[in-house]
Amino acid sequence: MTDSITIAHLNKVFASPEGGTVAAVKDVSLEIGAGRLVTLLGPSGCGKTTLLRMIAGFEEPTSGDIFFGTRRMNEMPPNRRDTAMVFQSYAIFPHLDVFENVAFGLHLRHLSGAEIATRVERVLELTGLGGFARRAPSQLSGGQQQRVALARCIVMEPRVLLFDEPLSNLDAKLREQMRGEIRELQQRVGITSVYVTHDQAEAMSISDEIVVMNAGAVAQRGTPHEIYAHPASRFVAGFIGRANFVAAEVLDAQGVAVAGVRLAVAGLAGGPVGTRVTLVVRPEAVRLSQAEEGLRGTVVRATFLGNVAEYRIAVAQAGEWLVEVPNPVENGLFAVGTVVSLTPSAAAVHVLA
């Protein structure tokens, strides 16, 4: 049985070592639907891990409430919450082998030996640890340790699954593979999950929903698409992917002026003519050409990255832009010093108030 999670006006204040106090989580309210995977995403120190640890019961909220379903969890000690957490360091019991690690929680529930064996075998199979039951943790690779941590949680069939930056100790290739596996597994078991990470690509690839946090508060929540395409603030736009922030002035319902040049913008909410706004222009949403019209700039740096060419382009009165052009092998590279014309795609430009 999985549960929805409701968080209402949650605050956490720590005593700082210097004697003052630090607000780690500020008035956070969230609703996480049963069976969904929600990511808490933000830079280090934004309060995401503290929030997760309050859900697990390792930290006590200073004020506010946490509900699993309709049950208030605030006073429930961690061992009775029926959550299962994958720790950043995996926290595998070094004195127990793989089987004993996975069976640890089941033993505490006083299940029969036969049932424990069946359930552990099944989960080991599910997590690709079939032949490793009697291995000591020290004999496992990083990815295998990660799987043990995951298996140990899933075997409990908990109400809530919690992930605290579970992939941050793996190398890039393995990280990509594991996040696919975690997503697949979560959807198969259908357990409500909260996933903490500072890696936006990881968040984008596994989440039903992303909660971007900054300085203890929720900056924005939405599907990965919403958050990327329509960031609510400069912070969110800058944290999720890369972005050019361009000062502009509203001309009419379809266009803005950048450095005196008219750019078409879709979905402009109007606003009085002359309002100063900031545009979020993603590097991959700009087309470069040598046409002698529109917004023009000089290539300051050109970097060949294989799949894309990355340019820094100085645009008169509009700062330096970062632009990515795909497939440079075929399209060639503009040399440094070339004057180019920049055309942002109207659908991809987002306007910040």
Binding site: M85, P94, A136, N169, L170
Partner: protein
């Protein structure tokens, strides 16, 4: 109560079993550590049922007691300096130089730690006493006396230098040899590299070792009792004599307080000042590189000194062993089993008693020590520092003070324990817990707390987490704590001598009695039995450790 304290208690109360255990431990420490000390303090201010400071004035006015204080302090300081110097030398040679027989020399050097602290005193009497092998038989002296200042210093340096050695070994091993290499690389001479890099880095460790040796020396009871003699009074034996000889409890208590003050001062310095100033330059790579600050000639000279010390240790033990099989040392060197026959006949009861007390107190002390370490490092509760201090305190309190405190505290209702097995066991449990606690704390601080959180997260309450996860992970600290507690319980004398009775007697007390009545052969035989039992126990405990920690190699994230 502050808001924070209330919040901490509220969280703890969600784990009632753990809270009850914590309360029990706190109460036990209050009753068996703090309360006896308070009783000593109170007794020192009482005469004829009235409050007074006269006992102290009385003490200050008499030359005997002034001398005892000066003598104890003087011996403590000198033994501290010599013991630390010897310990540093041995630690430096055996950890940093590429010399032969390092393992063998290591084990010989630490041998005095596992034997009763006054075995060396007995050896010294055998060698340098009035009928000593060296002084009488070899040199033919008849007016030489080993008793007094030099005898005590010799015996204590020999007994306590190994403690300095062990602690400095850890300090030196934690300093990366690449720092010396760096100094040499930028043009320092070897001597400069040593004086300006190696030595300053180990200075806090040296000071710490000095204070520990000083504390041990002040607290030492057996060596002074055997070797000080009547003309060289010292605090610990004097306090004992006041109580058992003249039944003057108030004066004994006052002497105990005078003895306690320097020890506590040294302890506070070591723990709260120096401990925070230790340099640790752990790089994650094993520091096995040998030191280049020592030239080849110096190297062999230093090695020679360590070998000489090891030979001295070995010869002291050889003398004990030979003495145990010799009819009358100094007069009749024919071999005999008579002394052992005595030990296993008249003395058998004390052998059994000693084993019973040690076997009962060791596991309790060990588990309790790990529990305290767990609570102190992993839980937040009001009075946490006080609990830690109370639990570690017995390390700094001379056994004589503890013994007097136990007599004062448990001789009358509500808790009458004198003369029982219980008082010996309780005394040993709390006296020998601190070393286990300290190594437990050190190990716990290196263990990722999320391993225990994972256990809780999977449904384990506080006690289950401790039992199934923390304790197994603490296995190395737990077993070294067990070894320490067992060794000390088998070799304890200073507190125990106040607590033994006709029903429960200890071998160490027997050894002292035999020395006192001049039967050195029997004393040596007892000593041999104690050392043999200790070595067997260490073997058994080490075997247990190996079976217990089948794969406790720490897992690190890749």
């Amino acid at each position: 109560m502050t808001r924070r304290a209330r919040a901490e208690l509220r969280i703890l109360a969600r784990d009632p079993l753990l809270l009850a255990l914590l309360a029990g431990i706190a109460l036990a420490i209050a009753v068996f550590v703090v309360y006896p000390l308070l009783r000593v303090l109170l007794a020192s201010f009482q005469a004829d049922g009235a409050w007074t400071g006269a006992t102290y004035l009385d003490l200050a006015g008499r030359r005997l007691y002034r001398n005892a204080l000066v003598n104890s302090l003087g011996v403590g300081l000198l033994v501290g300096v010599l013991g630390t110097a010897l310990g540093y030398l041995a630690a430096f040679v055996l950890t940093r130089l590429d010399v032969p027989c390092r393992t063998l020399l290591h084990y010989v050097t630490i041998l005095p730690i596992v034997s009763p602290p006054f075995v060396s005193a007995v050896s010294i009497v055998f060698l340098f006493g009035f009928n000593g092998l060296v002084t009488r038989q070899v040199l033919g002296l008849d007016d030489f006396s080993i008793y007094g200042f030099h005898g005590v210093v010799l015996s204590q340096v020999f007994t306590f230098a190994p403690i300095a050695y062990l602690s400095l070994r850890g300090v030196l091993a934690a300093i990366s040899p690449t720092l010396e290499d760096a100094a040499l690389n930028i043009g320092a001479t070897r001597w400069q590299a040593f004086c300006r890099v190696s030595l300053p880095l180990s200075l806090p460790g040296i000071a710490s070792a000095f204070l520990v040796v000083f504390i041990e020396s002040m607290a030492d009871f057996g060596n002074p009792l055997v070797l000080a003699g009547a003309s060289f009074p010292m605090l610990a034996p004097q306090a004992y004599l006041e109580i058992t000889g003249s039944f003057n409890l108030a004066r004994g208590a006052t002497l105990a307080i005078v003895l306690l003050v320097p020890s506590l001062t040294a302890f506070a310095l070591q723990r709260y000042y120096l401990a925070k100033r230790q340099y640790i330059t752990v790089t994650g790579k094993p520091a096995t590189s040998t030191s280049k600050v020592v030239g080849p000639v110096t190297k062999w000279i230093l090695w020679g000194l360590v070998v000489a010390f090891a030979l001295l240790v070995a010869s002291f033990y050889a003398v004990i062993l030979v003495g145990a099989f010799t009819r009358v040392w100094g007069f009749n060197y024919t071999p005999t089993l008579a002394h052992f026959a005595y030990v296993f006949d008249v003395g058998l009861q004390s052998v059994k008693d000693t084993l019973v007390v040690a076997v009962l107190s060791t596991p309790v002390s060990g588990v309790l020590g790990m529990l305290v370490a767990f609570l102190v490092v992993r839980r937040r509760f009001p009075g946490r520092t006080a609990l830690e201090f109370g639990a570690i305190l017995p390390f700094a309190v001379p056994g004589t003070v503890v013994g007097i405190g136990y007599i004062l505290a448990f001789n009358a209702p509500p808790l009458v324990l004198t003369g029982t097995l219980g008082i010996l066991v309780l005394c040993f449990v709390f006296r020998y817990m601190p070393v286990g606690i300290q190594s437990g704390i050190a190990v716990l601080r290196q263990i990722d707390p999320s391993i225990e959180e994972a256990a809780q997260n999977l449904g384990a309450d506080g006690i289950t987490t401790f039992r199934k996860v923390t304790l197994p992970l603490l296995a190395p600290a737990f077993f070294s704590g067990l070894i320490y507690a067992f060794v000390r319980a088998m070799t304890a004398i200073s507190a125990a001598i106040f607590l033994v009775s006709a029903h429960w007697n200890l071998m160490t007390v027997q050894i002292l009695n035999q020395v006192g009545s001049g039967r050195l052969g029997v004393a040596a035989a007892f000593s041999v039995v104690v050392i043999a039992l200790v070595l067997v126990a260490i073997g058994i405990i080490s075997l247990l450790l190996r079976r217990w920690s089948r794969h406790t190699a720490m897992v690190r994230p890749a």
